[in-house]
Amino acid sequence: MERIPVLRMGSLLLITIQVDMHDKLAMQLQDDVTQRISEWGSTGVLIDISSLEIVDSFIGRMLANIAAMSRILGAATVVVGMQPAVAITLVELGMSLPGVRTALSVEAGMELLYGAGAGFRTGSDDDPAQG
């Protein structure tokens, strides 16, 4: 069965959701993430939803569930790249995604998880070479 790939970068799990998920795929992802955290002792989970044009209540619940389950297993979760139309729709729908930290980009997400020393620049004024 097709699955959403869960990549490992050190202690970080990186998940990029690029397909229109049906319910089973979403449940599979939840399973996979919890499995991997246990297996690899990951401390961070980064979910990139910049390709998702629709986030309905089911997907929203999935994200909240992943965050909650990961926390219990000792990992922090950040969701990045939410599109404006999606955010506006979620607000209208009344979904607040409790317990889900968010960031604008993968870099910002990394910074949120591991701090500014993670080695990822988020603003050009931090880079002297760019003036």
Binding site: E53, I54, D56, S57, P84, M95
Partner: protein, 134 residues
């Protein structure tokens, strides 16, 4: 692509829900809906399609274009022969739930569309009709 005036899709599996919202997206794109309006409509379609499947034990969705020359919109009708909703008013409140999940998603869907109508009674199935104008 010549668009048929009405399209009916089954909602019997979770893949059907995905396909249904993709079709709604295609219809709305061809009618040049704005991005936010499109997103709201497709999300509402996803919620209601899922409802028909999960609570209504399966049903169907009908898509049709509505309006005359100047005003253009899409009308979606979701029908199922499921157990029906005993208390519609309660179901429309946010956070109402009958078990797993965060509720019927009806109240939220209502806010995503311009027109919303629901007919349901225990044992008589449910029909939800929504319209979103361009």
């Amino acid at each position: 692509m010549i668009q048929p005036r009405v399209e009916t899709l089954p909602l019997k599996t979770s893949n059907d829900v995905v396909f249904a919202r993709q079709r709604v997206r295609q219809w709305a794109t061809e009618l040049h809906f704005g991005l936010v309006d499109l997103t709201k409509l497709v999300t509402a379609a996803s919620e209601l399609a899922r409802n028909a499947l999960d609570h209504g034990k399966g049903g169907a969705m009908r898509i049709e274009q509505v309006g005359n020359g100047a005003k253009v919109g899409l009308k979606l009708t979701f029908e199922d022969q499921g157990p029906g909703i005993p208390d519609i008013e309660m179901a429309l409140k946010d956070g109402f739930t009958t078990g797993s999940g965060m509720g019927f998603g009806l109240g939220g869907s209502k806010r995503l569309v311009n027109e919303f109508a629901i007919e349901s009674a225990p044992g008589k199935g449910t029909r939800v009709t929504v319209v979103r104008w361009k």
